[in-house]
């Protein structure tokens, strides 16, 4: 098991390295970083001075190698925009995004799994159709629109929750619903499909024939197997939420890492972007790894090999 974990960690580092190399090259294609740093009103003189100061006139591989050596020493550089260490900026923001991501995925799982099970137990019933309807609506509604509607209703009209910010748990209610609802349809549909498949399997029929408690058959025998792909999907969704909560963070002014990533791209703040890509890719790998372990624990067949 230890060897397995070490192998996975080595692979993670390799993936992160590859991702960082590609992102480093790609980000430079987004325009001259000196112009971004200098700002929209900067004179040509300013831009020339910045190019020289930051060494943008050096070959790209040299710049990348420099960055890599510093990164290996734990120095991910300073933000060009904030003039603060990137680790400090990302550290400040990651907590918000992680909280939002965990709340949203929990919300999605709590909503989607029971819906998926209920829909699978009675296919084509009213419950099934209702679940599919909720799922389709979830996929069709743009997050920004849904978010603003919730703000109008629950913040402005009813005054129950704040419209923006991240100072208290109340601030997370609306963003969690918006982001969680966005992840719900995929999980619900996968749960439903998995349950329908499992419920028609021979061992379920056998279990039922043996006269086992139907509830036990449903939740212990069927759901446990049907939910395995859902765990992998949830891990991917969680990774996606970390980087992809941009719209939600923007609407609710949450100042998380997702929004920071978006802003850093638009202002060519390369040190922050590179550090974020590294951090996000590591989280992706971590979640996938955790999902694999969880799956292996739930399904002994997966432990082989």
């Amino acid at each position: 098991m230890l060897l397995y974990i070490l192998k996975r960690l080595g692979l993670a580092a390799l993936v992160a390295l590859t991702v960082s190399a590609i992102s480093f090259s790609l980000l430079f294609l987004a325009g001259d970083p000196a112009i971004s740093i200098a700002g929209e009103n900067a004179s040509s003189e300013d831009i020339a001075a910045i190019t020289e100061r930051y060494g943008f006139d050096r070959p790209l591989p040299v710049q990348y190698a420099d960055w890599l050596v510093s990164a290996a020493q734990g120095d991910l550089g300073r933000s060009w925009y904030f003039d603060l260490p990137t680790t400090q900026i990302i550290g400040d923001r990651l907590g918000v995004t992680m909280t939002l991501g965990l709340l949203a995925i929990s919300f999605a799982l709590i909503l989607a799994i029971p819906m998926g099970v209920a829909a699978a137990v009675r296919p084509n019933s009213l419950i099934d159709r209702a679940a599919l309807f909720i799922s389709v609506v979830g996929q069709a509604i743009p997050s920004f629109w849904f978010g603003l509607i919730l703000i109008v209703v629950f913040s402005i009209k009813l005054g129950l929750v704040p419209a923006s910010g991240s100072d208290s748990w109340k601030h997370f209610i609306l963003p969690t619903v918006v982001l969680g609802y966005y992840a719900t349809p995929a999980i619900m549909r996968l749960t439903r499909a998995g349950m329908i498949e499992v419920l028609s399997a021979d061992y379920i029929r056998t279990a039922r024939a043996k006269g086992l408690n139907p509830r036990k058959v449903l939740f212990k025998h069927a759901l446990r197997n049907a939910v395995i792909p859902v765990i992998s999907l949830a891990a991917v969704q969680m990774g996606f939420m970390l980087g992809g909560s941009i719209v939600v963070e923007s609407i609710f002014a949450l100042h998380g890492a997702g929004f920071l990533a978006w802003e850093s791209i638009s202002r060519n703040d390369l040190p922050v972007m590179q550090a974020l890509i590294l951090v996000f890719s590591m989280f992706y790998i971590l979640f996938t790894f955790l999902a694999d372990v969880l799956n292996a624990w739930m399904d002994p067949r997966l432990r082989v090999g």
Binding site: P33, S36, D83
Partner: protein
């Protein structure tokens, strides 16, 4: 886009009954920036948000009265030109920084020598590059030495050049100043969460000067990127002041009759630049008749009326009317599509031509311009890019035609725009030696009348040769709760110290 409009409409209608109240009781004005503030150290900040903070927390040696344009003493009480490159200033006595450090000649000398040293990497070099160094004459007298005559010196000393406390800055440097700014200004920075929010607190020990004492006790500024969320917060009464509200939203807010909506001009101007010098190849834009045809083809007034709105106005001159020496009496070209087609035919393009057209902001404006050009036969292929990418391409001379804008960093002098675009720099598409010479002479001439005459000649030639199609000035919408009072100025500098309660 339609969904956004629909939603904002819904939001506005839904909230007709919602009360809005400024937090007069706690003497705190709450407002939002839609952009994260960079470091608070003003010399390492290039955004307008930073410029607003600059004027609140620090003072310049001079102050420009936004109404009269007159320069008044601020941290300096008197100033005289010893010669064309030496300015002597008498400093105000009895001023202290927010940390109690007394203000004197050492602070001025330290600040200017620090910011002019290329080693220290100040971001906006143009703001300080016109100075060489400063010398102390006595405790309250300094001299600023210039490398060459610079007539806009007073404008810069009244604008971005803020005075720092020498001892504090030597100790904490840009990072420390970025997190805990110390100045002499009418506001002290009480709290700062980088990228998220900051709170200003009235400096009760402020010396007054031309800025006067701050009219409100506190100003809380949060970063809320989404304008619809800002409006929601405004309805909730958790924001009292909105800045830069889009025209359609501002109109709806005004129609509600409950809020103060003020529109004021900004120094930013829009323009179409054309590759006259043929840097991107020997394209049609090298022909003056084609450039004139472009000018005649665009109904600028119609775009201003339908899209830009507010106090924006059509301009013919390649600078902002709010700037010194921006002569408005140059040749103009009326909207005349028939004349445009005739000119194109004369230039050998009876059926028009196809050209790459670049833009980076205000896409609807860009598309409107393209629509007019298409009508006379100029088929434009839109390349809508990030600002940095477009400017890089432009600097390399790879842009045959573009819709661009320029804000001049709120410097009210024509040189802030002409020096960038018409003195053979990387953004000069015209490269006219005569224009270059006039502008460069004007940029280093002290005599105001002579400067005016030189800029006028240059701007007139830019117009007659149709190097640019100057489009319009920009405007800004300010929305305030009924309890608040503030009169915006035409340089888009929101002077927080001018906020007050009704």
């Amino acid at each position: 886009m339609k969904i956004w409009k629909l939603l904002s409409g819904t939001a506005l209608c839904a909230c007709l009954s919602a009360p809005a109240f400024a937090d007069k009781a706690s003497d705190t004005v709450s407002m939002a920036f839609n952009k994260e503030l960079e470091t608070a150290d003003t010399y390492f900040n290039t955004a307008r948000e930073g410029l607003l903070l600059n004027h609140a927390v620090w003072d310049g040696l001079l102050y420009r009265d936004p109404e009269t344009g007159e320069y008044k003493g601020n941290l300096a009480t008197d100033w005289t030109w010893i010669d064309d490159t030496t300015l002597e200033l008498t400093l105000r006595e009895g001023v202290t920084f927010h940390n109690g450090e007394p203000f004197n000649a050492d602070d001025v000398v330290y600040t200017i020598n620090y910011v002019t040293d290329p080693e220290n990497g100040v971001k906006n070099k143009a703001n300080v590059g016109w100075m060489d160094h400063a010398e102390k004459v006595d405790e309250y007298t300094v001299r600023i030495i210039l490398p060459a005559p610079f007539p806009a010196a007073e404008e810069f000393l009244a604008g971005p050049v803020a005075m720092y406390p020498d001892e504090y800055y030597a100790e904490v440097g840009p990072t420390g100043m970025g997190l805990k700014p110390i100045g002499t200004g009418p506001f002290k920075l009480a709290e700062l969460e980088p990228g998220k929010s900051f709170t200003l607190e009235r400096n009760d020990d402020y010396f007054g000067g031309p800025k006067g004492m701050a009219g409100v006790g506190n100003v809380e500024i949060r970063t809320i990127p989404e304008v619809n969320t800002q409006i929601a917060e405004f309805f909730n009464g958790t924001l009292d002041f909105l800045w830069g509200v889009p025209a359609d939203q501002a109109e709806k807010l005004e129609a509600m009759g409950k809020y103060t909506v003020v529109n004021a001009p900004a120094m930013r101007v829009g323009y179409v630049t054309m590759d006259t010098a043929g840097r991107s190849g020997d394209g049609p834009m090298t022909d003056q008749r084609v450039r004139e045809a472009v000018y005649h083809a665009i109904d600028r007034q119609a775009i201003v009326d339908a899209l830009v709105k507010g106090s924006s106005e059509v301009i013919d001159t390649a600078c902002s009317p709010a700037q010194f020496a921006c002569d408005q009496s140059v040749t103009g070209y009326e909207y005349d599509p028939e004349k445009s087609k005739e000119l194109l035919a004369e230039a050998g393009y009876p059926d028009g031509f196809e050209i790459d057209f670049y833009a980076y902001r205000n896409r609807p404006y860009a598309e409107a311009i393209m629509g007019y050009l298409n009508e006379v036969g100029i088929t434009t292929n839109l390349n809508f890019m990030q600002y940095a990418a477009l400017r890089e391409k432009h600097r390399k001379g790879e842009v045959p035609m573009a819709f661009l804008t320029w804000g001049s960093n709120s410097v009210a002098d024509a040189s802030a725009i002409t020096a960038e675009f018409f003195t053979e720099g990387p953004q000069d598409d015209a490269r006219d030696p005569e224009v270059v010479e006039w502008i460069e002479t004007a940029d280093t001439t002290i005599d105001k009348e002579e400067r005016k005459a030189l800029y006028s000649k240059a701007l007139q030639k830019i117009a007659t040769e149709a190097y640019w199609v100057p489009l319009w000035t920009y405007n800004v919408n300010y929305v305030m709760s009924p309890e608040m009072d503030f009169t915006p100025t035409d340089d888009e500098l929101v002077r927080f110290f001018d906020f007050s309660w009704n």
